[in-house]
């Protein structure tokens, strides 16, 4: 029996793709600029203890593109509607990359339905003087290589991405990622002013070899979010949930478990 469903749902008038599986406290996973992709092995692991909810953002992949979608703030407000409509509370919010930016923006706006926040290689702020690759000026192959620490994994992902049926979704994801993050590049200059309002237990999980948002970003977020904790995963690029899924899931469970004990 499948451990999750994968079907459309309409929230705030917008039809999106939603993957959901497991039971326990709700864990809402917000994907990055590459789209929701597949139900990851780490999600299957987490679904043994949590109700894992992994939507595809409006404007990405199989989800509709609503006329109101212009900014990350629009997505943050959409997910506040999402939490209301699904009547979720005590939510462990997890966001990767662009999805981390959405999660941080959401938590600043309204954390009343949240129990914790986890950012993975998150965008949303700018740190001066940190060398970062520019995926918008890279070839498709190079873009994938820059995501991973392990070159063999990168080549395997490149090989599996060369399928014509994936092209429409890939183009759609890139166009929407550009719309949301081109300028100011990957951040909102206003966000850092208000990150101190996040009072939730917050975990910052970063790949040690993240070339998009190097670990300096994790420590910058740590300074801005009171009480937040950094975990740097070795031999890992921009996507710990993909490249080091077991370590990622273990860190997340430990964090949430520890938080429950503390509470």
């Amino acid at each position: 029996m499948a451990d999750h469903i994968d079907q459309p749902i309409t929230v705030a008038g917008c039809r999106i793709r939603l993957m959901r599986g497991g039971s326990g406290a709700p864990l809402l996973f917000l994907h990055g600029g590459g789209g929701a992709g597949i139900w990851l092995p780490c999600m299957a692991t987490l679904a043994k203890k949590f109700d894992v909810i992994a939507p595809e953002h409006p404007g990405f992949g199989a989800s509709d593109t609503p006329p109101w979608l212009d900014t990350i703030a629009d997505l943050a407000n959409f997910y506040l509607d999402f939490l209301d409509e699904l009547e979720l509370s005590g939510v462990h919010l997890v966001g990767s990359s662009l999805g981390g930016w959405v999660a941080a923006e959401l938590a600043v706006r309204n954390a009343s339905r949240l129990a914790s926040l986890t950012l993975i290689g998150a965008a949303g702020i700018h740190v001066d003087g940190v060398a970062q690759v520019d995926p918008f000026l890279s070839s498709e192959e190079q873009r994938i290589r820059d995501l991973f620490h392990d070159p063999d994994l990168a080549e395997a992902v490149i090989a599996s991405s060369e399928r014509p049926e994936l092209e429409d979704a890939a183009l759609k994801n890139r166009m929407m990622t550009a719309k949301l993050s081109w300028q100011p590049r990957n951040h909102d200059p206003q966000l850092r002013k208000w990150l101190h309002r996040i009072k939730l237990p917050t975990l910052l999980i970063w790949g040690e070899q993240d070339r998009l948002f190097p670990p300096a970003y994790a420590f910058a977020f740590q300074k801005l979010i009171p009480g937040s904790k950094v975990v740097v995963i070795p031999r890992c690029g921009h996507l710990p949930q993909v490249e080091q899924g077991d370590a990622f899931a273990a860190e997340l469970e430990t964090f949430i478990g520890g938080k429950r004990i503390a509470a």
């Binding site: 918008f136 000026l137 890279s138 183009l171 166009m175 550009a178 719309k179 081109w182």
Partner: protein, 387 residues
């Protein structure tokens, strides 16, 4: 036919190997390769060429706009147009930039063009473009908003020129409490608006509906003919018959005594333009959102960028005309009839072509070609045959 002298103002002293190593002359090609002594010399050389074009009898001089590139040194074409506004006495002055989405205040374009129109006492032709994809990397403007910003900026500028101010404007991308630019344009209701494009269907449709002159950039003549036919079809749908004056072909012409000599002389300079100055990766040319997904897929499938082109290719495809005076006259007439345009936007300097050769080329065109085309209109028979 009207023949304009179209300049890109390339940094022709560039180290081509350095461009080759970088993979492009755009955006990431370091400006440490720019030598201000040489650059200053080039600005004067090129402006002198434009003034010569006026004296030689070209119908217009034509500038463009690109940013952060050795391909062209005119990021702010209005400055150079200002330098020419008083020294070019007779010819039209066409600015085939202003990339509207790249500016955060479109009223500066309304102001700049209005000043130029006054300075030239109504000889300005006002170009409105989106800029190529590389510009969006260079200027920090979101390519996903390119079309929206273009449409909104265009509407605002035309209103600023034609509606008495002050009035308030509130759009999605631009908002102003007061729109009231001084000066107003010299021409009534405003300078002619020309729309250069690489052949986007939606741009052609829009230009035809607005009755704006459409300028086709760097394309094989067969494609040019197809795009111009699209324009005429769209005009018909909009209820009028397009005049050949509404169609301009952007080309390169080089004339020497014989075909063989012309090709030999032009080859290194034209191939430098095609294979170095113009070279850029697809990611730079077409950032996400710059065109719709369907166009993006067509381009990716065609893999248009990157393959080296020889002068023989671009002559054969009718991208350029190179040859003896007789050959050039024959080809230009053939292409005019095939595509039905009545303006030729002609690069007489291109790539690394030095000053003496550029001036000799301009003089030869003025003496051997211009007089034969002054009153020449497209002959329909050839076009109908081609269709």
């Amino acid at each position: 036919m009207k023949i304009f002298n179209f300049h890109l103002m390339p940094y022709r002293h560039v180290d081509l190997d350095a461009i080759g190593r970088n993979g492009s002359a755009w955006v990431t090609f370091s400006n440490r390769h720019y030598d201000a002594q040489k650059g200053a010399g080039l600005y004067h050389e090129y402006l002198d060429q434009m003034e010569l074009a006026d004296r030689l009898g070209f119908d217009g001089v034509c500038l463009n706009e690109h940013h952060q590139t050795a391909y062209g040194m005119m990021p702010i074409p209005g400055v150079l147009a200002g330098a020419l506004a008083r020294s070019v006495k007779r010819a039209k002055l066409a600015v085939l930039g202003r990339a509207l989405p790249l500016v955060n205040n479109p009223l500066v374009v309304a102001e700049e063009y209005a000043i130029l129109d006054n300075l030239t006492r109504g000889r300005l032709i006002a170009g409105f473009v989106r800029g190529i994809g590389a510009e969006y990397h260079a200027m920090g403007i979101n390519p996903a908003y390119s079309q929206e910003r273009y449409a909104e900026a265009h509407d605002l500028i035309v209103r600023a020129w034609t509606e008495p101010g002050p009035f308030a404007y509130s759009g999605k991308h631009y908002q102003f409490r007061y729109v009231n630019p001084w000066p107003r344009p010299y021409q009534t209701p405003h300078p002619p608006i020309w729309i250069p494009s690489q052949g986007s269907g939606s741009t052609i449709r829009w230009a035809a509906r607005m009755r704006y002159t459409y300028c086709q950039t760097l394309s094989p003549i067969a494609a040019v003919a197809r795009f111009f036919q699209m324009y005429r079809d769209e005009a018909e749908k909009a209820g009028y018959q397009a005049s050949p004056d509404q169609l301009a072909w952007s080309n390169t012409i080089y004339v020497a005594e014989t075909d063989e000599k012309a090709v030999r002389e032009a080859r290194p300079h034209l191939e430098a333009l095609m294979n170095y100055f113009l070279k850029m990766p697809t990611e730079m040319l077409l950032p996400p959102g710059y065109t719709d997904a369907a166009s993006m897929k067509r381009v990716r499938a065609a893999k248009v960028t990157g393959k080296p082109q020889s002068i023989d290719d671009v002559i054969k495809n009718g991208v350029v005309i190179v040859g003896s005076p007789g050959t050039v006259r024959e080809k230009l007439a053939e292409y005019q009839d095939l595509a039905g345009f009545n303006t030729s936007l002609t690069k007489t300097q291109f790539g690394t072509l030095p000053d003496d050769m550029a001036r000799a080329n301009m003089t030869a065109i003025a003496e051997e070609v211009l007089p034969h085309f002054r009153t020449r209109l497209p002959q329909g028979a050839r076009r109908e045959a081609a269709e």
